[in-house]
Amino acid sequence: MLGRRGALAYLAVPPYLWLLGLFVLPLLVVVAVSLQPASGRIDFGAGWPSTNQYAHLADTPVYFRQLALSLAMAVGIAVTATLLAYPLAYFLAFRARERAGAFLILLLLPFATSFLLRIMAWKLLLGRDGAINWLLTTTGIATEPSTLLIYSRAAVIITLIYVWIPFAALPIYAALQRIDRSHLEAAADLGAGPWTRFFRVTVPLSLPGVLATLFMVFIPTVGEYVTPVLVGGPEGVMYGQLVQDFFTRAGNWPLGSALAVVMLLTTLALAAAAVKLIDLRRLA
C-alpha cells in the first residue's frame, strides 16, 4: 500500500519533468543559440560560446530604439487598460450586487471571441473601406476615405487596449471582492469621506490586483507581433515582430535568439523593478 509521502512524491515528479523539458530547457536553448558565432541556422561549431550576435545587436541602434518603443507602448497600454478596467471592476464588486455575476459574464464574452477576429473588427472600423471612413464620406465630413486611421502606431495602441480591457478587470475585481467591508465602515466611523475612504482604504487594499493586471497586460504586449502586422503597417512595427521574422522570413536564428534573450531579460528586470518600487511605497 502506497503511503501518503510516497504518493505525493510521485505526484510532484511529472510536473517537474514537464516544466524542465518544455519550459526551462527551451529557454536555455535560446540562450545557447544566441551565443553561436555564425549566423544562419543552428551550428554549435568552433568558437562557441561567442558574443558575436550581441556585438552585432549593440552596433545596431535600431533594435534598441524598437525595444524601447515597444516597452513604452506596452507600459502605456497596460496603464491605460488598468485605469479603464478599475472603474469596471469597482462597479462589479461594489455596485452591481446580485447582478455582478451576469455583468461579469457580459464583460468576458468579447474575450471569448477569437483574438485575431477582434483585431480584424478594428481593421473593419478603421480601414480604408471601413465603417468610420464610410460614415465620414457619406455624411460629407470628408471627401475621400482616409488611410490615416489604420496602419499606424495609434491603431496598434487602440486595438490592444480594446483587446485587454475585459482581461484587465479580472484581477482587480478579485482583489476588490476580497476587501473586508468592515475596514470601510471603520474608516467611515472615524469620519473619512467617500473619496478619502476610496484613496486611503480601497485603493491600497486593491494594489495587488492592480499590479497583477499591469503585468498580465504588459508582458504579453511586449512580445506582441500579430496586432502590429495586421493594423500597424510599417510605422507600427513592434519588437516581437522583429524576433519572429528572424525565424520565419530572414532565417537568422542566432541573431533572433539574441533579440529574444534581450527582450526576456528586459521584461523580467522591469517587472522586478516594478515589484520593488511598489513594495517600497507600501512600506512608506
Binding site: 517537474y16 516544466l19 477569437s114 467591508r181 520565419t248
Partner: protein
C-alpha cells in the same frame, strides 16, 4: 456569488460606502458598447453579400455558411485546433492538479520552486517561449505538428490550471483525508474517492479555461504548427486576402457559439463552486 459574500456588502452600503454618485453603471455600459460594437459589426459580414469587408453592405446572404462546409483546409484547421486544445487542456489540468495536491499536502524542499515554475509561463512573452521550443524541437529532430503545439500549449495553460486548483485545494480541510486514511484507505484511494469528487467543479472549470487559452493561441502555434495549421494560424494566413474574410468570419461565428457556451459554462461552474 455566495450569500455570505453578499450580506456584508448590504450592511456596508447602508453606511454609505460609495456614496459618491459617480455614474459607474453608465461607464460600464459605455465600455461594454465599445467592446461589443466592433465584434457585432464584424459579424454582420458573415451575412453580407459584399466581396470583401467594405461598407456599405449591399445585401444579406447565408452563402458564407455553405462555403464554410466546402472549405476543407479550414475544417482541417478547426479540427487541429480542437485536438490541440483537448490535449493541452487535459495535460495542463492533470499537471496542475498534481502541482496543487503536492504543494498543499506535502512539505518538501522544492515545493515553492514547483509552484513558482508552474506559474512562470505567465511571466514571459510567449514569442520567447515559442522561439525556444522551435529551436529545441529542431535540435531534437522532432517534426512540428499538432503534438508540438499541444505540448507548448500545455505549458502556457498550466499557470491557469494551477492557480484555479490551488485556490480550491487551499480551501479543503486536510482532516477529510486524515479521516479517510484512518479508516484504512490508501493515499491514492483517498485522492480518488475523497479529493477528486470535491474538486470536480474546479477541475472542469480549469479544463475549460485551459481549452480556451489553447484554442485561441497564435504566437506559439504559428512557429510550431508546421503543416498542421491550427485555426488561428490558418486565419492569420488568410486575412490578407480580403475576399476570403467573409467566409472566415462565418466560420468564426460558428466557432464563437461554441466558445461562448464554454465560457458561460466555465463561469457558471466556478461561481457555483
Amino acid at each position: 456569488m455566495t450569500a455570505a459574500a453578499r450580506s456584508p456588502r448590504r450592511s456596508s452600503a447602508a453606511i454609505g460606502v460609495g456614496r459618491t454618485r459617480l455614474p459607474l453603471r453608465g461607464f460600464y455600459l459605455v465600455l461594454l458598447a465599445f467592446l461589443y460594437l466592433p465584434i457585432l459589426l464584424l459579424f454582420l459580414f458573415a451575412f453580407s453579400a459584399n466581396r470583401g469587408l467594405t461598407f456599405p453592405i449591399q445585401g444579406l446572404t447565408f452563402d458564407r455558411f455553405a462555403s464554410v462546409l466546402e472549405n476543407r483546409q479550414m475544417l482541417t484547421a478547426a479540427r487541429n485546433s480542437l485536438l490541440v486544445a483537448v490535449m493541452a487542456a487535459t495535460a495542463a489540468t492533470a499537471l496542475g492538479l498534481a502541482v496543487g495536491v503536492a504543494a498543499t499536502r506535502l512539505r518538501f524542499a522544492g515545493r515553492g520552486l514547483l509552484v513558482g515554475l508552474a506559474a512562470a509561463p505567465l511571466l514571459i512573452p510567449y514569442v520567447v517561449l515559442a522561439v525556444g521550443l522551435f529551436l529545441m524541437f529542431t535540435l531534437l529532430d522532432v517534426p512540428r505538428g499538432i503534438f508540438t503545439v499541444a505540448a507548448a500549449h500545455s505549458v502556457i495553460a498550466l499557470p491557469y490550471a494551477t492557480l484555479i486548483l490551488l485556490a480550491r485545494l487551499l480551501g479543503l480541510d486536510p482532516a477529510l483525508e486524515d479521516a479517510a486514511m484512518d479508516l484504512g484507505a490508501s493515499y491514492p484511494t483517498t485522492l480518488r474517492k475523497v479529493i477528486l469528487p470535491l474538486l470536480g467543479p474546479s477541475l472542469i472549470s480549469a479544463w475549460l479555461t485551459c481549452f480556451i487559452v489553447s484554442f485561441d493561441e497564435i504566437a506559439i502555434a504559428n512557429l510550431l504548427a508546421g503543416r498542421d495549421a491550427t485555426f488561428p494560424v490558418f486565419l492569420y494566413g488568410q486575412l490578407r486576402f480580403a475576399g476570403q474574410v467573409p467566409v472566415l468570419v462565418a466560420m468564426a461565428v460558428l466557432l464563437l457559439i461554441g466558445t461562448l457556451l464554454l465560457t458561460i459554462l466555465a463561469q457558471q461552474i466556478r461561481s457555483r463552486d
